[in-house]
Assembly symmetry: C2
């Protein structure tokens, strides 16, 4: 692929697992090439222009295996939405409600999109996956598909947890506003 191809992959399904914008991609490809993990080749595009097509090298595959086998040290948390939720008492209830409604709508949409990708992967209806399977012995196909589907099942689960949490929050806000109304009526 070219850097541009990668960029488009990140806009799409691959981007739901990992993402990078183009000013990160192009220099990184050069670094990977210097390290010997990919090989770049200048190919013509039209009559005057050209583009740089990259392929993974044997050393790159070895490095990939090493990276996947490497145990991941868990990162410390930085969660803007939960941070805000911790301080919802500083804003009116309807501002908190707006925040949670947006969070809910966003992750409902995410669940829908991720689940759709998962189903398409399961059905092997993805260009990237097809290209991958085409260069792999058929005995390995089921395993490869299963791992991609599993990864997407994970991001669906995470998005679903956000949906459930936002719904829990909206119920809480409902209860709190009833309480404060009761309070006002009593006063």
């Amino acid at each position: 692929m070219t850097g541009f191809d990668l960029m488009r992959q990140f806009d799409d399904s691959v981007g739901y697992v990992w993402h990078a914008p183009h000013p990160q991609i192009y220099p990184e490809l050069r670094r990977l090439e210097d390290a010997g993990f990919v090989a770049g080749e200048e190919v013509p595009r039209g009559t005057h222009a050209k583009k740089r097509l990259y392929s993974i090298t044997d050393a790159g595959v070895t490095e990939l295996r090493r990276l996947v086998a490497d145990v991941e040290e868990p990162r410390r948390e930085r969660d803007p939405m939960r941070l805000k939720a911790s301080y919802f008492e500083y804003v009116p209830l309807d501002v908190a409600r707006t925040q949670l409604e947006r969070h809910l709508a966003y992750f409902e949409e995410r669940v829908r999109v991720y689940e759709e990708v998962r189903v398409r992967l399961q059905a092997r209806d993805s260009d990237l996956l097809k290209a991958r399977l085409a260069i792999t012995p058929e005995a390995d196909h089921a395993t490869i598909v299963a791992f991609k589907v599993f990864a997407y099942a994970g991001i669906v689960r995470r998005a679903q947890a956000e949906v459930d949490w936002a719904r829990e929050g909206l119920v809480l806000l409902e209860k709190l506003s009833e309480t404060s109304l009761a309070q006002i009526r009593r006063d």
Copy 2:
């Protein structure tokens, strides 16, 4: 609090929602002070040493309200574990198993810890929360506690989603290794 006090808070329950290491904290406090959001005061510590004690200003509270009300644009994904899981076919099944077992153990522990904090907040058994309630009218206590508990319920949910996903993955690996054993026996 001093920068050091904040640092310790981040090591602890607050750190499960947001975290910063000390080289970020001290300069940031100075910047917040320059912006007028906190006021720093030099206080003696022992006979020769001193420390810098910060308090939030009215402008700081206003800014906090603004930040909490501000709608959060969702960040693009960067998920190292799901990225690895997508490429598990590049490593032996038992390497993948080790990865998922670690993931599972880590998030099982996280669920335990987060749930414990949630229960303690609910019981108002937390120094930070007590200090907060002490300077707040009693009518607001229930709301404040409810929001903290809600935020922690969210991080519990997220950690639980990781646990469920890792378990799903271990079941998948079990199935795949049975299939490949059957394959070998057949060959």
